[in-house]
C-alpha cells in the first residue's frame, strides 16, 4: 500500500463521485438491458458457442463488436475477418482512451489498465460530458469508474438473462430491435460536425453497397470509406464552408 499516492483535497478516491457517475448513466444502463437481451438471443440463435458468447460480455464488453462476432461466425466468415472486423469496430476506444487520459493520469498503471476495460461508449460519453464541469482529475476518475462499472453490470445482467432465456423471449417484445436502436442512439450524437456527418453518410451507404463484398468485409470497407471521406472534408472544409 506504500505506492498509493497522497490524498488530495477531494480525497484520493471519492465514493460520492462514484455514486454520481452511476446515477448519471442509469438511463443508459436501463437501455443496456433490452440490448443485452437482444445480444443473448442473437448468440443463442447463431451457431456461436453460447458459453463463449456469454463470456464475451465480460472480457470484450463492447456490444457492437460482440454482435458482429456472433453474426460473422454464424455466416461462416473466416477467423481473421471476424477478429479484424471486431477490432476495427473497437478502434474507437483508442480515441476514447485519449479523451479520458486526464482523468486517469493521477493513478498508477495497475489501476489504469484494468479500469480502462470499462470504457464503453456510454461510460465515455457520460464521463466526457461531466468533465466539462469538473476540473478535479480524482473526481473525474471516480465518476468514470462509477459510470463504467454500473453500466457493465447492467450489460452483464442483460446478456446473462438473454443467453439463458433467449429461446423463450416472445417475438412480440421486439428485443431484436434494441440492437439497431442502440446504434442509432450512439451514432446520432457522434455526428458533431460536417466531417462527422460525411463520415456517417458514407459509412452507412458504402456498408450497404458492399453487402456482397467477399468474406463479409462490408462494414470494414464502409467504415474505411467513411473515415477517408470525412478526412477529406476536414481538409477542404474551411474553403467550401463559405459557399455552402
Amino acid at each position: 500500500m506504500s505506492a498509493v499516492p497522497e490524498p488530495t483535497r477531494n480525497g484520493w478516491f471519492s465514493l460520492a463521485d462514484l455514486r454520481a457517475g452511476a446515477r448519471a448513466i442509469l438511463p443508459l444502463s436501463i437501455g443496456a438491458f433490452p440490448f443485452g437481451l437482444a445480444y443473448g438471443v442473437t448468440v443463442v440463435e447463431s451457431s456461436m458457442d453460447n458459453v463463449v458468447g456469454w463470456l464475451a460480455s465480460f472480457i470484450v464488453l463492447a456490444g457492437a463488436s460482440q454482435l458482429a462476432i456472433s453474426d460473422l461466425l454464424d455466416q461462416g466468415a473466416p477467423w481473421f475477418i471476424v477478429i479484424g472486423t471486431a477490432l476495427i469496430i473497437n478502434a474507437r476506444f483508442v480515441m476514447y482512451s485519449g479523451a479520458l487520459a486526464p482523468a486517469f493520469s493521477e493513478y498508477p498503471k495497475h489501476w489504469r489498465i484494468p479500469l480502462a476495460h470499462f470504457m464503453t461508449d456510454q461510460a465515455t460519453v457520460t464521463s466526457l460530458l461531466h468533465d466539462q464541469r469538473e476540473r478535479d482529475r480524482h473526481r473525474r476518475f471516480a465518476y468514470y469508474v462509477g459510470a463504467g462499472l454500473s453500466f457493465a453490470v447492467a450489460w452483464w445482467i442483460g446478456t446473462t438473462i438473454g443467453v439463458i432465456i433467449g429461446a423463450t423471449i416472445p417475438e412480440g417484445l421486439q428485443v431484436g430491435f434494441a440492437a439497431p436502436l442502440m446504434f442509432i442512439a450512439l451514432a446520432v450524437p457522434s455526428i458533431r460536425d460536417r466531417a462527422a456527418l460525411i463520415a456517417a453518410v458514407v459509412g452507412f451507404s458504402v456498408t450497404l453497397m458492399a453487402k456482397d463484398a467477399p468474406m463479409n468485409t462490408g462494414l470494414l470497407i464502409g467504415a474505411a470509406a467513411g473515415i477517408a471521406f470525412g478526412l477529406l472534408a476536414k481538409t477542404r472544409g474551411p474553403e467550401v464552408r463559405d459557399d455552402g
Binding site: L28, I30, G31, P34, M48, V52, A56, I59, V60, L61, A62, A64, S65, L67, L73, V82, I83, A86, L87, I88, I89, N90, A91, R92, F93, V94, M95, S97, G98, L100, A101, F104, S105, R112, A116, Q174, F177, P180, L181, F183, I184, A185, L186, A187, V188, I191, A195, A196, A200, G203, F204, T207, L208, K211, L219, G222, A223, G226, I227, L231
Partner: protein, 105 residues
Amino acid sequence: MTADLAIVLVVALGTIAMRASMVTLLADVTIPPRAEQALSLVAPAVLAGLVAQTLFLDHGEPRPFGTWYLAGAIAAVVAWRTRSFGWTLLAGMAGVWLLEALLQA
C-alpha cells in the same frame, strides 16, 4: 467452441490494449493531428455502418420495409432533437411496439 473461444480471446486482448493505450501512454506521446482527426471519425463511420447492417440488412440481405424502419426513423429524430440516450431508446422501443400493435389491429 475452441475456435470461437480463441477468436473472442484475441478480440478481448486487442480491445483492452486499445482501451488502455492512451490512458497509459499519453503522458509521453502526442498523437499526430491527422491521426487524431481520423480517430474522431471512427465512431460516426462505424456506428452508421452498424445501423446499416443491423437495421437495413438482415443477415446480409435487404430487410423488407416495415415497422423497424419507421421506429428507427422516430428514434433518429428523437436522438437528434434531444441528444438523450434514454429518450431515444424509449421512443424507439415504444415506436416499434405501437407500430406492431397498429399493424396487427
